[in-house]
């Protein structure tokens, strides 16, 4: 692992909601162009953590934050850093597919450009490449002007992935992207993740342990015990975390003894 470069690093990340300390001293380094899975039982803070990586976390009024998140060695929480600029580089796909209902499929793919006030001369090509990279092009190429909500749930989620990809992000965050999808759609989203991995750094939160094993190079196990703040119990190569976990709690969790 010594020859890896780290695109994104979280250093001593702490999160509070109001007075409640929900994440304590999280240190994780995400290697460039690899997939990192965050696993752990509900309420352990993994979704909260992934939101700190593109500053979506701070949209919650009571949120508090301590620590650093380094993107290309620059702290995204540093003085004068614009969260809007951070989110242009760090895209996000949510748990529930959220295509914009008033827009067509094509408009959804291009919505990021419009929303960030960018211009792109070759929009047709961008729509096609983005949809191809999200492996949904063949299903929608003849109906690009149909409303986005006419798609099935799995297609909507891949459209949301395409929407993020159109912005050319360096990092893609996925917060349980398959938890609202059927097995067939899940498989296609996973294939998409594996195809994207060589080009960008991907962080995925998942409840599905098989999914983590199928797509992730690294896995981090989060846990919050007895009302204490969540923290990382174990972080390492996926194989090692699942086959030879160091911590007994990780062993219990990945083998389905709790959670």
């Amino acid at each position: 692992m010594s020859n890896l470069t780290y695109h994104l690093r979280a250093e001593d990340v702490n999160v509070w909601f109001g007075e409640r300390h929900v994440l304590k001293d999280v240190n994780l380094a995400f290697p460039s162009n690899q997939v990192t899975a965050l696993i752990g039982p509900s309420g352990c803070g993994k979704s909260t953590f992934i939101r700190t990586l593109n500053r979506m976390h701070e949209l919650i009024p009571s949120a508090g934050f301590g620590g650093k998140v380094l993107l290309d060695e620059e702290d995204i929480y540093g003085d004068g850093v614009d969260p809007v600029k951070v989110r242009l580089k760090v895209g996000m796909v949510f748990q529930k597919p959220n295509p914009f209902p008033t827009m067509s499929i094509q408009e959804n793919v291009l919505s990021g450009l419009k929303l960030s006030g960018r211009k792109n001369s070759n929009t047709e090509e961008l729509v096609e490449t983005s949809l191809r990279r999200a492996s949904i092009w063949n299903e929608v190429k003849d109906r690009l002007n149909d409303p986005a909500l006419s798609l099935s749930g799995g297609q909507q989620q891949r459209l949301c992935i395409a929407r993020s990809l159109a912005m050319g992000p360096e990092v893609l965050l996925m917060d349980e992207p398959c938890s609202a999808l059927d097995p067939g759609s899940t498989r296609r989203v996973e294939e998409t993740i594996l195809e994207l991995a060589p080009e960008m750094t991907i962080v995925i939160v998942t409840h599905n342990m098989q999914q983590a094993q199928r797509v992730a190079d690294q896995t981090a196990f989060f846990l919050s015990e007895d009302g204490n703040p969540g923290h990382v119990v174990e972080f390492g190569a996926t194989e090692q975390v699942f086959e030879q976990p160091i911590d007994p709690r990780t062993n219990d969790y990945v083998n389905g003894h709790f959670g």
């Binding site: 593109n54 979506m56 949209l59 009024p61 809007v84 600029k85 989110r87 242009l88 895209g91 996000m92 949510f94 529930k96 959220n98 295509p99 914009f100 209902p101 008033t102 919505s111 990021g112 419009k114 929303l115 960030s116 006030g117 409303p147 909500l149 949301c160 929407r163 993020s164 912005m167």
Partner: protein
């Protein structure tokens, strides 16, 4: 042996809703329970000469309740009593509201229709006496005045209402509670007070004489709470996931609002504007105090007295002649028609949008 399955679709049979089938016993007893109480009541009114309203409450309602309870017991046993009482109560009270609304509409339409003619709608009221025959003169100037006064109010109020709603839903402002309380208080403001305030501010103080724009100002506090609250509700209905989706794409907050939240709430906001307009288009007191009245068409909302439909109606009722009261009914009908047109066009506008998206 291979079995061939026929998969061609067949026409839907008439019996496709077995759950809606009613037994003959139910139909007969339900018909009896509906007809007998009404028949007895009509007999009391017709033969014994009882007052209709009194008969409705003293005779009809108790008999109907008992009849329904009997049917309920005979069909469902004991639980049928409450069920059938609920049905009777629902039908009785909803038809009461329906009759109330219908009778208002009917009296306006039947009395007002006689006055409606092209000349009544397009001519103004100049040279017309309260006793002048309906063939001459009309509410043209008042329609123009109402539209101008309410239009100017709408132009001022909608951005204010939208801004208020955005403050209440999209920001983390500290004074939301106070703003909401103020809006509620404003909704309870008697319209005459609003008119009096503008009168004292601008007219009694000598800043201006009666003019259309002072009327528009007086309508703002009446319209604002409706526009702001309904807009707030419709913005609140836009799921947070959409906002987050837009922000996660690197949108500045204002673009996320303008390009995602606002379009998603569009039909609700249109409803808000229309409810606001409907709220003030019939307001009389503030206009009497601020625009006063006029018989000539005045196209300048910034200068001179202005006629409007409610003040016209008020004035002509006050004259008390046969012809003038007919004109007042006509003006009332015109107000109703304008409100109906506004509502129907808003419905159509939001419907074409959803249809195009299907």
């Amino acid at each position: 042996m291979e079995k061939v399955i026929d998969l061609t679709p067949v026409a839907r049979p008439k019996t496709a809703q077995p759950w809606s089938k009613k037994s003959p016993k139910f139909l007969i007893s339900a018909a009896a329970a509906s007809i007998i109480p009404a028949a007895i009541t009509l007999a009391f009114v017709g033969l014994a000469g009882m007052d209709f309203m009194a008969a409705l409450i003293i005779v009809f309602l108790p008999i109907q309740v008992i009849a329904a309870a009997l049917v309920g017991i005979s069909i469902y046993g004991r639980r049928g009593i409450l069920e059938s009482l609920l049905v009777v109560a629902t039908i009785f009270f909803s038809s009461f509201v329906f009759v109330l609304l219908g009778s208002v509409l009917w009296s306006v339409i039947s009395n007002g229709a006689a006055a409606i003619s092209p000349s009544f709608i397009f001519q103004n009221n100049y040279y017309i006496q309260p006793t002048t025959d309906l063939g001459y003169g009309g509410v043209g100037h008042a329609i123009v005045g109402s539209l101008l006064i309410v239009g100017l109010s709408t132009i001022i109020t909608v951005p204010l209402g939208l801004a208020t709603a955005v403050y209440l839903t999209e920001t983390q402002g500290k004074s939301k509670g106070i703003i909401r309380t103020l809006l509620q208080a404003m909704a309870g403001l008697p319209s005459v007070v609003s008119g009096l305030f503008i009168y004292a501010m601008f007219i009694a103080s000598g800043i201006t004489t009666y003019a259309g724009w002072t009327g528009s100002l007086a309508l703002i506090p009446l319209m604002l709470p409706t526009v702001a609250r309904v807009t707030e509700e419709s913005l609140r209905l836009v799921p947070a996931e959409l906002r987050n989706g837009a922000l996660a794409l690197g949108a500045p907050a204002w673009r996320a609002f303008a390009q995602v939240t606002l379009p998603a709430a569009k039909s609700g906001i249109m409803t808000a504007v229309l409810l606001g307009v409907a709220r003030v288009i019939g307001e009389t007191a503030p206009l009497v105090l601020t625009t006063f009245a006029a018989d000539r068409t005045n196209l300048n909302v910034f200068s001179g007295q202005m006629g409007s439909l409610p003040t016209y109606l008020f004035g002509y009722i006050a004259f008390g002649f046969d012809a003038s009261i007919k004109r007042a009914w006509g003006a009332a009908l015109v107000i109703l028609i304008i409100v109906a047109i506004l509502f129907i066009s808003a419905r159509l506008a939001s419907r074409t949008r959803t249809k195009a998206r299907k």
